[in-house]
Assembly symmetry: C2
Homo-oligomer: 151 residues x 2
DNA sequence: ATTAATTAAATTGTGTACAATTTAATCGTG
DNA sequence: CACGATTAAATTGTACACAATTTAATTAAT
Protein backbone atom coordinates (compact mmCIF):
# COMPACT_ATOMS: atom_id res chain seq x y z
CA UNK A 1 0.00 0.00 0.00
CA UNK A 2 2.76 2.40 0.95
CA UNK A 3 4.47 1.98 -2.38
CA UNK A 4 1.17 2.47 -4.23
CA UNK A 5 0.64 5.67 -2.26
CA UNK A 6 4.19 6.84 -2.85
CA UNK A 7 4.22 6.24 -6.58
CA UNK A 8 0.68 7.54 -7.14
CA UNK A 9 1.71 10.75 -5.43
CA UNK A 10 4.85 11.13 -7.55
CA UNK A 11 2.85 10.41 -10.70
CA UNK A 12 0.26 13.01 -9.71
CA UNK A 13 3.01 15.61 -9.37
CA UNK A 14 4.31 14.62 -12.80
CA UNK A 15 0.82 15.09 -14.26
CA UNK A 16 0.59 18.59 -12.80
CA UNK A 17 3.98 19.64 -14.13
CA UNK A 18 3.04 20.56 -17.72
CA UNK A 19 -0.26 22.12 -16.58
CA UNK A 20 1.42 24.27 -13.94
CA UNK A 21 4.37 25.15 -16.15
CA UNK A 22 2.02 27.46 -18.06
CA UNK A 23 1.51 29.35 -14.79
CA UNK A 24 5.19 29.17 -13.85
CA UNK A 25 4.43 27.12 -10.72
CA UNK A 26 5.54 23.83 -9.20
CA UNK A 27 2.99 21.64 -7.45
CA UNK A 28 3.94 22.70 -3.89
CA UNK A 29 3.91 26.34 -5.05
CA UNK A 30 0.44 25.76 -6.51
CA UNK A 31 -0.73 24.41 -3.15
CA UNK A 32 0.51 27.57 -1.46
CA UNK A 33 -1.30 29.72 -4.03
CA UNK A 34 -4.52 27.72 -3.53
CA UNK A 35 -4.34 28.37 0.20
CA UNK A 36 -3.57 32.04 -0.37
CA UNK A 37 -6.50 32.39 -2.79
CA UNK A 38 -8.68 30.86 -0.10
CA UNK A 39 -7.62 33.56 2.34
CA UNK A 40 -5.02 36.31 1.96
CA UNK A 41 -2.54 37.52 4.58
CA UNK A 42 -1.35 34.41 6.38
CA UNK A 43 1.75 33.78 8.42
CA UNK A 44 4.28 31.17 7.38
CA UNK A 45 3.23 28.90 10.24
CA UNK A 46 -0.45 29.17 9.26
CA UNK A 47 0.50 28.03 5.76
CA UNK A 48 2.51 25.25 7.33
CA UNK A 49 -0.45 24.08 9.41
CA UNK A 50 -2.74 23.99 6.37
CA UNK A 51 -0.23 22.17 4.19
CA UNK A 52 1.58 20.07 6.83
CA UNK A 53 4.91 21.60 5.80
CA UNK A 54 7.52 23.26 7.97
CA UNK A 55 9.46 26.50 7.59
CA UNK A 56 12.45 24.63 6.20
CA UNK A 57 10.34 23.75 3.17
CA UNK A 58 8.20 26.89 3.01
CA UNK A 59 10.80 29.61 3.46
CA UNK A 60 12.75 28.93 0.23
CA UNK A 61 9.53 28.15 -1.66
CA UNK A 62 7.97 31.46 -0.56
CA UNK A 63 11.15 33.32 -1.51
CA UNK A 64 10.84 31.90 -5.01
CA UNK A 65 7.19 32.96 -5.23
CA UNK A 66 8.25 36.40 -4.00
CA UNK A 67 11.02 36.57 -6.61
CA UNK A 68 8.42 36.14 -9.39
CA UNK A 69 6.18 38.68 -7.62
CA UNK A 70 3.18 36.45 -6.98
CA UNK A 71 3.37 37.09 -3.23
CA UNK A 72 4.96 39.57 -0.83
CA UNK A 73 6.58 38.66 2.50
CA UNK A 74 6.56 41.27 5.27
CA UNK A 75 7.34 41.09 8.96
CA UNK A 76 4.28 41.41 11.16
CA UNK A 77 4.63 44.79 12.93
CA UNK A 78 2.61 43.47 15.88
CA UNK A 79 4.94 40.48 16.33
CA UNK A 80 8.29 40.82 14.62
CA UNK A 81 8.88 37.06 14.76
CA UNK A 82 6.09 36.45 12.28
CA UNK A 83 6.26 36.89 8.52
CA UNK A 84 2.96 37.68 6.79
CA UNK A 85 2.47 36.44 3.25
CA UNK A 86 0.19 38.47 0.95
CA UNK A 87 -0.91 38.04 -2.63
CA UNK A 88 0.30 40.64 -5.11
CA UNK A 89 -2.09 41.81 -7.87
CA UNK A 90 -0.32 39.35 -10.19
CA UNK A 91 -0.87 36.61 -7.62
CA UNK A 92 -4.59 37.35 -7.47
CA UNK A 93 -4.81 37.54 -11.25
CA UNK A 94 -3.24 34.08 -11.58
CA UNK A 95 -6.29 32.48 -9.94
CA UNK A 96 -8.36 32.86 -13.10
CA UNK A 97 -5.73 31.10 -15.22
CA UNK A 98 -5.57 28.30 -12.65
CA UNK A 99 -9.30 27.59 -12.68
CA UNK A 100 -9.09 25.10 -15.55
CA UNK A 101 -6.57 22.89 -13.78
CA UNK A 102 -8.83 20.90 -11.42
CA UNK A 103 -11.02 19.74 -14.30
CA UNK A 104 -8.02 18.66 -16.36
CA UNK A 105 -6.63 16.67 -13.44
CA UNK A 106 -9.96 15.13 -12.51
CA UNK A 107 -10.32 14.02 -16.13
CA UNK A 108 -6.90 12.38 -16.05
CA UNK A 109 -7.83 10.33 -12.98
CA UNK A 110 -10.56 8.52 -14.96
CA UNK A 111 -12.62 8.61 -11.77
CA UNK A 112 -16.12 9.94 -11.13
CA UNK A 113 -16.49 12.86 -8.75
CA UNK A 114 -18.05 10.64 -6.02
CA UNK A 115 -15.14 8.20 -6.39
CA UNK A 116 -12.68 11.06 -6.02
CA UNK A 117 -14.52 12.37 -2.97
CA UNK A 118 -14.44 8.92 -1.36
CA UNK A 119 -10.75 8.47 -2.09
CA UNK A 120 -10.03 11.93 -0.69
CA UNK A 121 -11.72 11.07 2.58
CA UNK A 122 -9.89 7.74 2.82
CA UNK A 123 -6.55 9.43 2.26
CA UNK A 124 -7.32 12.19 4.76
CA UNK A 125 -8.31 9.55 7.34
CA UNK A 126 -5.13 7.64 6.60
CA UNK A 127 -3.00 10.75 7.05
CA UNK A 128 -4.74 11.47 10.34
CA UNK A 129 -4.12 7.90 11.57
CA UNK A 130 -0.46 8.09 10.59
CA UNK A 131 -0.15 11.44 12.33
CA UNK A 132 -1.55 9.94 15.51
CA UNK A 133 0.97 7.13 15.30
CA UNK A 134 3.87 9.52 14.69
CA UNK A 135 2.70 11.73 17.51
CA UNK A 136 2.60 8.74 19.86
CA UNK A 137 6.07 7.68 18.78
CA UNK A 138 7.52 11.13 19.31
CA UNK A 139 5.82 11.65 22.66
CA UNK A 140 4.74 8.25 24.01
CA UNK A 141 1.37 8.44 25.76
CA UNK A 142 2.73 6.16 28.45
CA UNK A 143 6.15 6.31 30.13
CA UNK A 144 8.83 3.96 28.88
CA UNK A 145 8.67 1.99 32.12
CA UNK A 146 5.10 0.89 31.36
CA UNK A 147 4.34 -2.83 31.34
CA UNK A 148 1.61 -2.45 28.73
CA UNK A 149 2.06 -3.40 25.08
CA UNK A 150 -0.26 -2.91 22.14
CA UNK A 151 -2.72 -5.81 21.55
CA UNK B 1 -7.89 14.72 -3.68
CA UNK B 2 -4.43 15.54 -4.98
CA UNK B 3 -3.50 17.32 -1.79
CA UNK B 4 -4.82 14.43 0.31
CA UNK B 5 -2.67 12.08 -1.76
CA UNK B 6 0.37 14.33 -1.53
CA UNK B 7 0.20 14.87 2.22
CA UNK B 8 -0.70 11.25 3.02
CA UNK B 9 2.39 10.18 1.07
CA UNK B 10 4.65 12.62 2.90
CA UNK B 11 3.20 11.53 6.24
CA UNK B 12 3.77 7.89 5.36
CA UNK B 13 7.43 8.64 4.67
CA UNK B 14 7.66 10.41 8.01
CA UNK B 15 6.19 7.37 9.74
CA UNK B 16 8.80 5.10 8.15
CA UNK B 17 11.71 7.33 9.11
CA UNK B 18 12.24 6.21 12.73
CA UNK B 19 11.54 2.57 11.83
CA UNK B 20 14.02 2.59 8.96
CA UNK B 21 16.62 4.59 10.83
CA UNK B 22 17.33 1.44 12.86
CA UNK B 23 18.31 -0.21 9.56
CA UNK B 24 20.18 2.87 8.30
CA UNK B 25 17.78 3.26 5.35
CA UNK B 26 15.58 5.99 3.90
CA UNK B 27 12.18 5.05 2.48
CA UNK B 28 13.28 5.05 -1.19
CA UNK B 29 16.34 3.02 -0.21
CA UNK B 30 14.03 0.58 1.59
CA UNK B 31 11.97 0.24 -1.58
CA UNK B 32 15.11 -0.63 -3.53
CA UNK B 33 16.07 -3.22 -0.92
CA UNK B 34 12.55 -4.74 -1.03
CA UNK B 35 12.87 -5.14 -4.79
CA UNK B 36 16.34 -6.59 -4.45
CA UNK B 37 15.19 -9.07 -1.79
CA UNK B 38 12.46 -10.10 -4.20
CA UNK B 39 15.07 -10.89 -6.86
CA UNK B 40 18.82 -10.33 -6.83
CA UNK B 41 21.00 -9.12 -9.71
CA UNK B 42 18.97 -6.45 -11.46
CA UNK B 43 20.03 -3.66 -13.75
CA UNK B 44 19.44 -0.04 -12.82
CA UNK B 45 16.72 0.28 -15.45
CA UNK B 46 14.94 -2.83 -14.16
CA UNK B 47 14.83 -1.25 -10.72
CA UNK B 48 13.56 1.92 -12.34
CA UNK B 49 10.74 0.08 -14.09
CA UNK B 50 9.64 -1.59 -10.86
CA UNK B 51 9.77 1.61 -8.83
CA UNK B 52 8.87 4.16 -11.52
CA UNK B 53 12.09 6.05 -10.87
CA UNK B 54 14.76 7.13 -13.35
CA UNK B 55 18.55 6.87 -13.29
CA UNK B 56 18.84 10.45 -12.08
CA UNK B 57 17.19 9.36 -8.84
CA UNK B 58 18.54 5.83 -8.63
CA UNK B 59 22.20 6.37 -9.43
CA UNK B 60 23.03 8.51 -6.37
CA UNK B 61 20.73 6.40 -4.16
CA UNK B 62 22.46 3.19 -5.27
CA UNK B 63 25.85 4.77 -4.69
CA UNK B 64 24.83 5.49 -1.11
CA UNK B 65 23.65 1.90 -0.63
CA UNK B 66 26.95 0.74 -2.10
CA UNK B 67 28.87 3.03 0.25
CA UNK B 68 27.29 1.29 3.27
CA UNK B 69 27.95 -2.08 1.59
CA UNK B 70 24.37 -3.28 1.32
CA UNK B 71 24.68 -3.67 -2.45
CA UNK B 72 27.41 -3.91 -5.09
CA UNK B 73 27.28 -2.22 -8.50
CA UNK B 74 29.15 -3.87 -11.35
CA UNK B 75 29.13 -3.30 -15.10
CA UNK B 76 27.46 -6.10 -17.04
CA UNK B 77 30.26 -7.86 -18.95
CA UNK B 78 27.79 -8.87 -21.67
CA UNK B 79 26.63 -5.28 -22.21
CA UNK B 80 28.96 -2.66 -20.81
CA UNK B 81 26.22 -0.03 -20.84
CA UNK B 82 24.34 -1.82 -18.08
CA UNK B 83 25.12 -1.77 -14.38
CA UNK B 84 24.05 -4.82 -12.40
CA UNK B 85 23.07 -4.34 -8.78
CA UNK B 86 23.64 -7.24 -6.39
CA UNK B 87 22.98 -7.74 -2.70
CA UNK B 88 26.01 -8.12 -0.46
CA UNK B 89 25.86 -10.60 2.44
CA UNK B 90 25.04 -7.63 4.69
CA UNK B 91 22.25 -6.62 2.32
CA UNK B 92 20.74 -10.11 2.47
CA UNK B 93 21.11 -10.22 6.23
CA UNK B 94 19.19 -6.94 6.59
CA UNK B 95 16.02 -8.60 5.29
CA UNK B 96 15.44 -10.35 8.60
CA UNK B 97 15.67 -7.11 10.56
CA UNK B 98 13.25 -5.49 8.11
CA UNK B 99 10.56 -8.14 8.52
CA UNK B 100 8.88 -6.41 11.45
CA UNK B 101 8.34 -3.16 9.56
CA UNK B 102 5.21 -3.99 7.51
CA UNK B 103 3.26 -4.98 10.61
CA UNK B 104 4.29 -1.81 12.45
CA UNK B 105 3.18 0.33 9.51
CA UNK B 106 -0.05 -1.57 8.95
CA UNK B 107 -0.84 -1.07 12.63
CA UNK B 108 -0.25 2.69 12.32
CA UNK B 109 -2.73 2.95 9.44
CA UNK B 110 -5.59 1.84 11.73
CA UNK B 111 -6.96 -0.06 8.72
CA UNK B 112 -7.92 -3.70 8.35
CA UNK B 113 -5.96 -5.79 5.87
CA UNK B 114 -8.88 -5.90 3.38
CA UNK B 115 -9.19 -2.12 3.61
CA UNK B 116 -5.49 -1.76 2.91
CA UNK B 117 -5.74 -4.15 -0.03
CA UNK B 118 -8.66 -2.18 -1.49
CA UNK B 119 -6.86 1.13 -1.06
CA UNK B 120 -3.75 -0.32 -2.65
CA UNK B 121 -5.69 -1.34 -5.73
CA UNK B 122 -7.39 2.04 -5.99
CA UNK B 123 -4.06 3.82 -5.79
CA UNK B 124 -2.47 1.49 -8.34
CA UNK B 125 -5.40 2.08 -10.70
CA UNK B 126 -5.10 5.81 -10.16
CA UNK B 127 -1.39 5.76 -10.92
CA UNK B 128 -2.07 3.77 -14.09
CA UNK B 129 -4.74 6.28 -15.21
CA UNK B 130 -2.43 9.21 -14.57
CA UNK B 131 0.34 7.45 -16.47
CA UNK B 132 -1.95 7.02 -19.45
CA UNK B 133 -2.77 10.70 -19.36
CA UNK B 134 0.88 11.71 -19.09
CA UNK B 135 1.86 9.26 -21.80
CA UNK B 136 -0.68 10.71 -24.18
CA UNK B 137 0.56 14.23 -23.53
CA UNK B 138 4.23 13.32 -23.82
CA UNK B 139 4.10 11.12 -26.90
CA UNK B 140 0.87 11.70 -28.80
CA UNK B 141 -0.56 8.44 -30.13
CA UNK B 142 -1.07 10.11 -33.51
CA UNK B 143 1.48 12.14 -35.50
CA UNK B 144 1.35 15.92 -35.19
CA UNK B 145 0.11 16.24 -38.76
CA UNK B 146 -3.02 14.23 -37.95
CA UNK B 147 -6.43 15.81 -38.39
CA UNK B 148 -7.89 13.84 -35.52
CA UNK B 149 -8.57 15.34 -32.10
CA UNK B 150 -9.58 13.66 -28.89
CA UNK B 151 -13.36 13.46 -28.33
C1' DA C 1 11.90 44.33 35.81
C1' DT C 2 15.02 40.48 34.69
C1' DT C 3 15.89 36.33 33.20
C1' DA C 4 14.39 31.82 31.65
C1' DA C 5 11.41 29.48 28.59
C1' DT C 6 8.96 29.57 24.48
C1' DT C 7 7.90 30.68 19.84
C1' DA C 8 8.52 31.89 14.67
C1' DA C 9 11.49 31.93 10.80
C1' DA C 10 15.53 31.14 8.82
C1' DT C 11 19.55 28.35 8.07
C1' DT C 12 22.30 24.10 7.39
C1' DG C 13 23.00 19.63 5.73
C1' DT C 14 21.29 15.28 3.69
C1' DG C 15 18.52 12.86 0.49
C1' DT C 16 15.32 12.47 -2.91
C1' DA C 17 12.81 13.58 -7.75
C1' DC C 18 13.17 14.76 -12.35
C1' DA C 19 14.09 17.32 -16.85
C1' DA C 20 17.74 17.82 -19.85
C1' DT C 21 22.12 16.78 -21.32
C1' DT C 22 26.25 13.93 -21.81
C1' DT C 23 28.96 9.80 -22.39
C1' DA C 24 29.68 5.42 -23.87
C1' DA C 25 28.21 1.09 -25.77
C1' DT C 26 25.26 -1.57 -28.84
C1' DC C 27 22.19 -2.19 -32.68
C1' DG C 28 20.36 -1.80 -37.32
C1' DT C 29 20.76 -0.84 -42.21
C1' DG C 30 22.69 -0.40 -46.21
C1' DC D 1 32.02 -3.03 -42.37
C1' DA D 2 30.54 1.58 -41.41
C1' DC D 3 27.85 4.87 -39.38
C1' DG D 4 23.66 6.86 -37.85
C1' DA D 5 20.16 5.70 -34.41
C1' DT D 6 19.17 3.87 -30.14
C1' DT D 7 19.91 2.60 -25.46
C1' DA D 8 21.79 2.66 -20.45
C1' DA D 9 23.87 5.23 -16.91
C1' DA D 10 25.69 9.12 -15.25
C1' DT D 11 25.77 14.05 -14.76
C1' DT D 12 23.92 18.75 -14.14
C1' DG D 13 20.82 21.98 -12.34
C1' DT D 14 16.47 23.13 -9.94
C1' DA D 15 13.20 22.36 -6.36
C1' DC D 16 11.35 20.17 -2.70
C1' DA D 17 11.18 17.70 2.32
C1' DC D 18 12.73 17.54 6.80
C1' DA D 19 15.74 17.01 11.07
C1' DA D 20 18.53 19.84 13.68
C1' DT D 21 20.28 24.11 14.79
C1' DT D 22 20.37 29.12 15.04
C1' DT D 23 18.60 33.75 15.55
C1' DA D 24 15.55 36.97 17.14
C1' DA D 25 11.35 38.30 19.43
C1' DT D 26 7.83 37.48 22.90
C1' DT D 27 5.98 35.54 27.08
C1' DA D 28 6.17 33.86 31.81
C1' DA D 29 7.70 33.39 36.39
C1' DT D 30 9.97 34.99 39.92
Amino acid sequence: MCFALYSASLTMTKLYKPLLQKLGLTYPQYLVMLVMWEQDARSVSELGERLFLDSGTLTPLLKRLEAVELIARVRDTADERRVIVRLTPAGRKLQKQAQVIPKQVSCATECSLPELAALTRQLADLRAALFRSIGNAGKPAVPISSNFTNP
